[in-house]
């Protein structure tokens, strides 16, 4: 079979598109979360750790007997808490957002493993829960509720950013905090709030992994998805609609490489396929994001009354 007809076969199968949407979901949620933080002017490199904590905490809650939706809430709340830590250090104290973010990632990741081991000291095979089941819909629509929640949140975040007073305030503090203050806004409070909200979304992204995509928590589960979200935000030029597009595109490449790996039957080294989504993302970034206009005050701490 020649290459083109293999690709065509893959693209025409419903199972492929089911996979694309499923793979895209954590990217959609994570990218939205990062986007909300950055729109307020705060880079959140804690995303990887926040997703890990969300994955662990959501799963742990369900494992301890809570229902699935409670698990989702627990994950969001834990995300928001780590977000609060990041915000507390970077907004009122004005510490380096890069360094703090990496610290939050290290903390979130190791805290998750620590708590997991504390509760389950001798589990050798990861214990499982009963995760969200796909809805009974035809073809690619057979997704779990969390995927639909993610898609709905794209609309909610877009609406909030562009149509509500609080969204305008968030964009203003990310563009020109001094101007926001001169309009009577509390820059510190708005930035902290935005970082917490964004981090809650990252927590959800993590929860999707353990409560929907899989049924267990294991080490290195997030596996760099957070870092991809950071790039997707740039790709999306800080717009929710484009963030969805970017997440879908990345998921498409990822699903495609999985299938091509199988179809190639080991002729080519599989690492080559693993590279594909990343290479294509870099290419897409180069093409799309060159002219991206980022929030002007991104990564610049604001201190009242300073020249």
């Amino acid at each position: 079979m020649d290459f083109l007809s293999i690709i065509l076969d893959i693209l025409l199968s419903a199972a492929f598109w089911t996979a694309v949407l499923r793979i895209a979901t954590p990217y959609v949620l994570g990218t939205l979360g990062e986007l909300v933080c950055e729109r307020a002017g705060v880079l959140n490199l804690g995303i990887e750790g926040i997703m890990t904590l969300g994955a662990m905490a959501g799963w742990m809650a369900v494992y301890q007997g809570a229902d699935l939706w409670t698990g989702v809430l627990v994950a969001a709340a834990c995300g928001a808490l780590l977000g609060l830590l990041h915000a507390a250090l970077t907004v009122p104290l004005g510490l380096s957002q890069h360094v703090t973010g990496i610290g939050v990632t290290l903390l979130g990741t190791s805290l998750s493993y620590f708590v997991y081991r504390l509760v389950l000291p001798q589990a050798s095979t990861p214990p499982t829960i009963v995760p969200f089941q796909p809805l009974d819909l035809p073809g690619a629509f057979a997704q779990t509720p969390l995927t639909y929640l993610a898609l709905a949140l794209v609309g909610v975040v877009a609406y909030a950013l562009y149509r509500t007073p609080v969204g305008l305030a968030v964009r203003m503090v990310g563009e020109h905090p001094a101007a926001a203050e001169a309009q009577g806004l509390n820059v510190t409070a708005i930035r902290i709030g935005a970082v917490m909200a964004g981090s809650a979304l990252m927590g959800l992204a993590g929860a999707f992994l353990t409560l929907s995509a899989f049924n267990a928590f294991f080490f290195n589960m997030v596996n760099g998805r957070g870092w991809i979200c950071i790039a997707l935000v740039v790709f999306a030029s800080w717009r929710p609609g484009k963030a969805l597009l970017g997440a879908l595109l990345f998921a498409l490449f990822d699903a495609l490489q999985l299938r091509l790996q199988q179809a190639s039957g080991g002729v080519l080294p599989y690492q080559l396929f693993l590279m594909m989504p990343y290479l294509l993302s870099i290419l897409a970034l180069v093409l799309v994001a060159r002219r991206a206009s980022y929030p002007r005050a991104l990564m610049i701490p604001y201190r009242k009354g300073e020249r």
Binding site: R163, T164, P165, M172, L185
Partner: protein, 526 residues
Amino acid sequence: MSSPTTGGPEVVLRLAGISKRFGPLLANDAISLTLRAGEVLALLGENGAGKTTLMNILFGHYVADEGTIEAFGRPLPPGSPRAALAAGIGMVHQHFTLADNLSVLDNIAVGTESLWRLRSDRGGARRRLLDLSQRFGLAVRPDALVGDLSVGERQRVEILKALYRDARILILDEPTAVLTPQESAGLFDTLRRLTADGLAVVFISHKMNEVFAASDTVAVLRAGRLVATHPTASTDRAKLAELMVGRSVKPPAPAPLSPGEPVLELAGVTVASGHARPLLDAVDLTVRRHQVIGVAGVSGNGQSALAELVSGLIRPDAGQVSLKGSVVHHADPADMVRRGVARIPEDRHSAGLVGAMAVWENLIAERYRDPAFSRFGVLRRDAARAHARRVIEEFDVRCPGPDARTQLLSGGNMQKLILGRTLAYGPDLILASQPTRGLDIGAVSYVHSRLLDARAAGAGVLLISEDLDEILALADCVTVAYHGRLTPLLPHDRVSVSQLGLLMAGHWDILRDILPETPRENGNAA
């Protein structure tokens, strides 16, 4: 209008004993002021006298160390712009506080609604904005991005921001520093309408003619102290100048000198670079030694392109540039500096100085490769610091020392620093763009006299300015920029301010009256 207790219009604002320190510096020293409804108070003072600091305290950006503020009879909580806005105080900052990436409407409406409304009332906001804009003659486009607006339009947006919130006290911090004369006239028209409405205005300015045209009362700050408050009508220019500076200020007069050989020659220079209309269109210009050539014109008529061309930032698409008789090919800024061009850039914050770097670093920024300042790729810091101390001393730059970060300097002192960097090496050509924008009268006359000293020492000066008084006071010959073209050189004693105004508006037919011998084909603007 008049209240029974005071006899005059109601007192709307009362500052009592305001003091503010920045480290060892006493920026405001027990200042007390009152403002009445409908009154326009002009706040004067040298650069660094503490005017902006006082207004920032009033608006809640800074918290005073001592003193109280009362607006409309009620004490104003310190340190809260929100409270100031609620009390009816609006402020137009010295440097615009607008987000470039947001629309005019967004910039104005942000923070005016309760944050937790589920939907912004954009329709209502737009109607209110358009209504205000009509009522006060402040034309704006609600959906334009602020980044795309001219300075004049941004200024209008800033004022509308305050009016949108029903400001009853309006603070304007150097509102005209970056406006063209026409735009300033428009602003003062607006102010008259506002005060007729009972609004009280505090405005800060270094321009005496504005103070006398627009204010009822003047207050003068010197080194953080309020040294005088007078009704404007009972004082005069010289008296105010003396109060501000502490000595009398005499504008320097250029000594007659005969021009020497050419230092800068532009022949048929065109700069198009992809624009629909060329930025410079077949421009001829000669600047000679011992000569100041003034370029007048409304900004945006090719002045920035001219300045960038002479500083080597852009290259001509046609025609040639010569310096001291030799043609310049493939110019770049470093090359131009080596050839003896010194520049005073238009915007000292973005193109003149690096705010986060020290005074000494900024002073050698154009010459750090000079063997005097570096050897084998290593900076000679002691030599550079010693040089900085000499410049600070000679140009009277008030700053803590060579190691101070430049962003802590006041505007006037930043300009003196640039002047020191520019003049320290005896340049052949000085490119001065708006060299006195935002400076106090003492600093203005200082800058002028240094430029004239350089002229006497043999430099040619290309002075680009929107201030016609400045041009007529300094220039030997004037040219007017309009749509990328320059008029022939006009001797300064043959043109009047009103003729320059007409030329700036494109009525080049009057050139025939000024220069009867001008050939017909040069006499019309494109």
